[in-house]
Symmetry: D2
Subunit: 406 residues, 4 copies
């Protein structure tokens, strides 16, 4: 083992990361600093303090990062209408860069020379944590216990706990579940268990954040989202901070059966995996943002955004938030959002998030031009002939030279 003096661990307070605290102390004979963040996962973070203390940790960081998380990560991502592989709203991916950043900042504050995390060696999260860490502190040592130790089964972990006096009720903080779960203000995810068969339908009892469409109210809920520069700043006229917006939309969406997703996705490490996600607020946000852009964004800017989006999604999914290419894409995206202001009206009903109206003082929709009625010269229909003729010219020349177009 290399010479590590102090390591900052992303500590959830749960069983796995508690084992990691012990394992790090023993294996590396180093001091462990724990870092526990509230990013809206819906569990108390304060209990992590006592647990960490019980494990002999002296430097304990517990922080509420919800506002920063939504303001600086979730919101910029939604400006791009980001979806990975046509479906996934990147709920897990977008939380990792912030955790990586704080791990490194705390390492710098505490004089630690290493960081550690509880992600396995098969998933994307290890990549996201570590790419972030290396980008922010190139000489940092990263310890990924799941890739190093031999505790890679539930039984071995339990035995380790017993041997090391780690109270197993640590695990009660998460309700016993057959699924591997991850949650933050944007989403909760489920993997493993019966989901490993992609033909098997997810059980109703698995879902935690939303009622089923069947169980949702029979009456629709209407809401109005106010946008400024591409970000939601108010719901139904009430000004809210970014994380308050998302929390409220999660409640509204979840109550109306909105935001469930069941997909097979391609991991960066090369395999396919099946995951289920609940993203109630995010699902509403995506629709609404497209709606306000549809009114206020120039066509070619919108199309260029659409062409760049898959790349941007991939950059985030693969863990390259802290990279030059992400900053480059963000600069292009943010450049377009200045006039993305206005109000979107939505109807939420049994799984559906439906846009029913949109308005903006910066609207580029021009009724006088688009109308089917006679208009007074705002648009000369005869211009269309020249437009078509010149756009057709290359096709006509080719056909005239005997090339078949069909």
């Amino acid at each position: 083992m290399s010479d590590v003096k102090k390591v900052v661990l992303a500590y959830s307070g749960g069983l796995d990361t508690s084992v990691i605290v012990k394992w790090l102390q023993e294996t590396y004979a180093c001091e462990v600093v724990t870092f526990t963040a509230d990013i809206g996962q819906g569990e108390e973070v304060e209990p992590a303090r006592t647990k960490a203390q019980a494990l002999g940790v002296k430097e304990i960081y517990i922080e509420d990062l919800r506002e920063e998380f939504v303001r600086d990560y979730v919101y910029p991502m939604f400006r791009a209408n980001t979806i990975y592989e046509g479906e996934y709203l990147l709920g897990t991916s977008i939380a990792r860069p912030l955790i990586a950043k704080r791990l490194i900042e705390i390492a710098n504050e505490t004089g630690a020379d290493a960081i550690s995390h509880g992600a396995t060696g098969k998933g994307n999260d290890q990549v996201r944590f570590e790419l972030g860490a290396y980008a922010l502190k190139p000489g940092v040592k990263v310890i990924a216990p799941w890739r190093e130790w031999d505790l890679n089964s539930r039984e071995k972990l339990m035995a380790y706990c017993e041997d090391n006096d780690i109270p197993v009720d640590f695990s009660k903080s998460k309700k016993k579940s057959p699924y591997s779960m991850d949650a933050n203000l944007l989403h909760i995810s489920y993997e493993g268990g019966i989901l490993e068969d992609p033909w098997a339908e997810a059980e109703e009892e698995m879902w935690r954040w939303s009622v089923s469409p069947e169980a949702a109210p029979d009456q629709p809920t209407y809401i109005e989202l106010t946008y400024e520069k591409g970000d939601v700043v108010a719901i139904d006229g009430e000004s809210l901070k970014p994380h308050e917006v998302l929390a409220k939309l999660n409640k509204l969406g979840g109550d109306n059966g909105i935001g469930r997703l069941d997909i097979v996705e391609n991991r960066y490490v090369g395999m396919k995996s099946r995951g289920c996600y609940e993203t109630p607020g995010g699902t509403i946000l995506l629709r609404a943002h497209r709606a306000i852009e549809s009114l206020t964004l120039d066509r070619e800017a919108a199309h260029l955004k659409d062409e760049l989006m898959p790349k941007y999604a991939k950059v985030i999914y693969n863990g390259y938030w802290w990279s030059p290419e992400r900053r480059m894409l963000q600069a292009a995206i943010d450049e377009t959002q200045e006039f993305v202001n206005g109000v979107v009206r939505m109807k939420l009903y049994k799984g559906n998030a439906i846009v029913v109206g949109r308005q903006s003082e910066q609207s580029l929709f021009d009724e006088s031009i688009a109308t089917f009625e006679d208009d007074a010269g705002a648009y000369d229909q005869k211009d269309a002939e020249g437009f078509i003729k010149l756009n057709a010219l290359r096709l006509r020349i080719a056909a005239g030279k005997g090339r078949s177009a069909s």
Copy 2:
């Protein structure tokens, strides 16, 4: 007026195109050939014969193009998971190339030197018809009455009918509607009327192909779609032709409140317009195709498809089906579909088309690799370290040279 001898008109049998028959005969003193196609718009096409005869037309083409339409246009488009501006399934756009092709083929058969259509000078359809026509017959003359005449209001049209003995009940073939509508097997669209205010919610009575989610059954419907090379070939085990698949999915989707869309879109001619669409079958197809691809398509092929898709959608939306760039994109897309075989199981419920299972003999999902359980060497978690280290190298070098990543 230039010297036109015979013109082939895309003739619906409705009032507008009946006026066009007369207007062409008078204005150009030419013979008119009518062409009426059943592409699944849900109206009888045979009555167009009598109407055309009454207008003195001698060469009358009436054809059932439903199978060709879905097989050669809709299906290839869905292989690309095509959506325009993140929302629109291109229901109108995809029907135009086929009409343009038949207009030109009929012109060649009948010795006509011109074609004509009833699209206005403000919309996309004129562009799509005419680009197709020019690409397929470069010397053809195109007559677009709405850009030429001065009958550009309902009143003037009616007066023209009266002056020319065109029976106004011609218009009864379409139920009186305040909306401009267009329909084919893929969708029905609505524009105009109160929709010209993008803040106004569409009225329930406008929608024709689907019940509202509220009015849909309280019990879900489960279906299984069988794919071969990216195309649906059977529903619930029953083999169907492409247009039968789409017709059946339209019924299933419409009955379950699926496929309504209300958007503001950017037209090729430069303005924004608001449209409402019902695409019940197409909405199901899009989800299902992504699901079968998620299991059977290589990651990088899938991502490249996603990057190309917005361009492909734009090519179709703008009317360039009969172009070298469309063929080029199609070649890339079709290359990927060889192994897109298998079955997708979906749940249809009150507006939701939910993927609940997918299976394939060509599945690239490998349970033994993706599992959270201990595995026997199919995947060595230690490989992840090297993977991350080398992917991080450029970021570490940059950070090491003092560049800030945040």
Copy 3:
């Protein structure tokens, strides 16, 4: 003719635009304001004053825009390594947005309601002028005489001059040439004449800015270009303004036979045309910029720039400088240039502009990592195995399922 009171004309002082002054005065019975700019075309602009006065023009604008041209248009374009269709350095395209901007600003200052230019109806320049004008002043009237009048041959123009007392020696300002030419600090272009046969080799006497490689000196010239944030700020250590840099590189390049180009290009209006170009300084700049980026730019940022470049080139070529999509692309490009600092050493010799060295304090080249010699742990070769294994995983799974990769 519509009601035009005052029109600002892009006036070269040559025969064609002098005819336009007269024709505008007569046809529109309006006042004409002339605008003549020095953008480095290599001709005196001051003589335009007397000529305009002789034509009765009262408001005459003559301006030296060389610095602004290079600083705000040429330099931003070169940051993207911009080339159209793999060859063309956009010398004509990049000058148009500046002219359009000044035409509109002068229209605003002088209370003019229209602008006019001398570009023909077949070329790209009309599009570039007019798109710029409309984007900057949406209600402006644009008068394009070449699309309106019937003076479309040399003979008719001459007759018009005679009839209207326009001194034909106006045309002497340009040496008599069989080619249509355009020049500014970035390039000089040739079209027409024997070039209309793409098989015909351009004559040696056509070229004006460069000697032939054969006639260039037998000794190479070495130069060093200093970059700051992606722009050249000094040559051989001497600080220069942007337009001074370009002028000096034109001299150095031209003397060494550098920068000739002979291509067939695709115009935005739909046809192919053959053009010859001399871009001595630009040719050097393109090579040098790539060289300094090769040392200082992150790999993925560089690759993303390369993917965006063709789009950016097309935007400029087609005349959309003053568009949201150009600003969006520029934001992405400029974001990457912060560390593009350093010195490039080049050898100029008989048509060749050869990079022979590059250095930078922000260099990301790390000799200790790249070296073939034994190194002490900066890079662990064993990491490569995991890197390859995980990158190969998707390919192995596919092959394992029986898919042939060849």
Copy 4:
């Protein structure tokens, strides 16, 4: 060491791979099969037989792959006008997939369970060999001695030779050089030595395939290349096979000082490296292919190719020739080449490969449309007004709503 029975080695006959034969026999106690290919590297391959025999190898493959190499790898790549990072013609990258394929085919023929190569752990070639091998035979074992052994310096290698009776004159097959070199019909490359300082100019004596521009003849050489479907099939009217074309162009280019390149590039493994390349024939081919395309390819197809090219180049550079995404891109590229037929005339002179003429029966260049002279209606200049007006519409609406375009 895992249980390897037989390994196929890419064997050059040089010192390094001879050491590898011995090392494999000893370390893995396995049989070694050698595979030596003539891909135009300019050295005899037959002597490898005696050397392999001397090392106790029983199964020896020696093959002339020059035709297959150029026909199936180099030519398809040039159809895309492929360049990596704006400069590099991928000479090394494109040879690896063929070697990987033959290694695997031979492994299948000889019943070998492993392959091995002599690429180091820092370069791209290990990745290219191994990705290809895994894609073609997913269960193959790959042995990369340079990542495993401790012979990583010249001294240790020599000591190993002495200890194992490997004749050191093995190394004489390559002239002693301070550079790491690689050659095939497309190029020869140089790395290491003084090139590790990117500011240092390459020495004249380093270059092997070309004279310097200074030393090239004072008279230009003119050649004509005949294209069929995007590939050169004849030079100066003489039909040649693909590898004969490339060999002849290498001679012509090299004699005229054409094809030297000196760059810093970004390796897939994360570092920058400096390389010098001689690609005489390839440099001519790239120019010529663009020229024949400029005449025969549709504009939008050409532009789409340009947008896809950087991605295609990256796929090849990174070693993903045997991947679904490469096949997908190739399908798109090949779709466009049907009409890329004709003749390109070039002038070769002291480092310059200049296109001076191009002609084609499939030319889309239409003199009657492009001409500056009066024409008879092939193109109506008035169409340009409508074309510009509608293209400007979105910009005018935005400006009309008060958005500043500048």
